[in-house]
Symmetry: C2
Subunit: 299 residues, 2 copies
């Protein structure tokens, strides 16, 4: 499968994810809440996590309907974390995905509630009633809820953000930085891969290989983010560039230098590709292409 095929696949899948997000986000939640939720999720974002879910589901020859629900759920968790992270008590950012952040547009209280409601909605999407024509097996619902909850919670994303908060101005070493990002961004990226994999069946060794793949690209994503934060302008990123430096936050660039960070990204790409090669799975071309996309992206 060549790069053009993968790009076509991506465009088709991005349309499917966007349509699914559109249909599951409430059109009329009370008192402006639905509007804030839709603003915080739609019309923006690279949708990397949904693509990872769908590519991993394909590698596992899994249940497509379940994977589409899982892709919406992980994107809702990701988008809620950005809304809360941008608030004045956290990173205090005014620009996200090229637009004013949710609290700038709707106020802090509505932004907090929109994030809270989006986390709940993620678990709603994963638990369709059996009578729903588009339902998925209860065993899979439970599995997906469990993977997502653990990635989002104190042992994953929220825990990583707590470390991030506490680390401002501290001289973290590389191991501490890795631990923070393994939780803050890595856990949800890895969970995206595993939720897609859970939609099908595979030997434990293949599962473990996908877990290693997910961990490697999770970290690679953050290393590249840190590089882009100092090399790209805000207009290209759609968010405020140079923010970590301004906030005196430790980054891969501040710890390893720009060249060291670039080498690290390449090493992680190779680790991700090696994990796929060792998985014994046949249909990993899209996961492989996504690993390259994560490292080679410029925004």
């Amino acid at each position: 499968m060549n790069a053009a095929d993968c790009e076509t696949w991506m465009r088709v899948e991005l349309d499917a994810v966007e349509a699914a997000l559109q249909s599951w986000l409430p059109a009329a939640a009370p008192a402006g809440l639905g509007e804030a939720m839709r603003y915080g999720v739609l019309d923006g974002g690279k949708r990397l996590r949904p693509l990872l879910v769908l590519a991993a589901c394909e590698a596992a020859a899994g249940n497509r309907s379940a994977a589409l629900r899982a892709s919406v759920a992980v994107e809702l968790i990701h988008a809620y974390s950005l809304i809360h992270d941008d608030m004045p008590c956290m990173d205090d950012d005014v620009l996200r995905r090229g637009k004013p952040t949710v609290h700038v547009k709707f106020g802090e209280a509505q932004a907090m509630l929109a994030g809270d409601a989006m986390q709940a909605l993620a678990f709603e999407v994963l638990t369709p009633a059996a009578a729903d024509p588009d339902s998925i097996p209860a065993r899979l619902q439970a599995r997906l809820c469990g993977l997502l909850a653990r990635a989002a919670g104190h042992g994953g994303m929220a825990g990583g953000q707590a470390i991030d908060l506490a680390s401002v101005g501290l001289p973290l070493n590389e191991a501490q930085l890795r631990d923070m990002h393994r939780r803050k961004t890595g856990a949800l990226l890895e969970a995206s891969v595993l939720m897609g994999a859970a939609c099908g069946e595979m030997p434990g060794s293949a599962w473990d290989a996908l877990s290693r793949y997910g961990a490697a690209i999770g970290l690679a994503f953050q290393v590249v983010d840190d590089i882009l934060d100092v090399t790209q302008a805000s207009e290209v990123l759609g968010k405020t560039a140079g923010k970590d430096l301004d906030l005196n936050k430790p980054t891969y660039v501040s710890v390893l230098g720009i060249e060291g960070a670039r080498r690290q990204a390449q090493t992680l790409r190779e680790r991700a590709q090696a994990a796929l090669a060792s998985s014994g799975l046949r249909h990993t071309a899209r996961l492989s292409w996504l690993a390259d996309l994560v490292v080679d992206r410029n925004c």
Copy 2:
């Protein structure tokens, strides 16, 4: 079963719930997050929602281990909502359960993260791995996650809070006030009853009766809350009294007057008891006693 038996039952169950909360709240989540989560949940609260779960499970002759998990999960959702609700951008309150609120003690960012992590933890608790000796059937895990997510999200608690925010200073009528509270507090109280019921098996008619019971006590709880807000001192309530009046929020007392609100609470108690009587279930004495407790409480 007399009131003394019910009080003994309650004391025993409160100990069980407290022990379960203790064991599921992380002792060592990173960077102070675990401490903030534990502070926000432990050593306080009436634990009404867990008691409703456990009493409904008993009425359904249900799976005790599942009900204990469900009781922890609903209390985590309730406690997280209080933490976020108390923050400066929402109700800006400094006193809760007789202690400084979480953001006063740990800062706003940590309070927001603690709430976020508690919502995720609720779904972790509901989805133990099959290998866990204390696990519960996957079908029940999925059911409980679905009930909780819908009660917590935009159609339930978070939606009700959005209406609450938007209603400050507005002259809501009784129907609008009821709609707000049906979502804001009622949805999670009703879900507590239904999650307990889901731990066992019962005919659809009994399920519907418990749903009516839950809706009635959900509303009764709020009516009584509004009465206590104007008749009790902060020291008795463990939170700031007279707050709604200060914030110019519509309440049952402002809409119905104090006597009208008292009559309304009695009507709802009768409706709850009638629903239990019509359920056809035999073991509803504790649910009946809890309905009285909700209406007769003085804090």
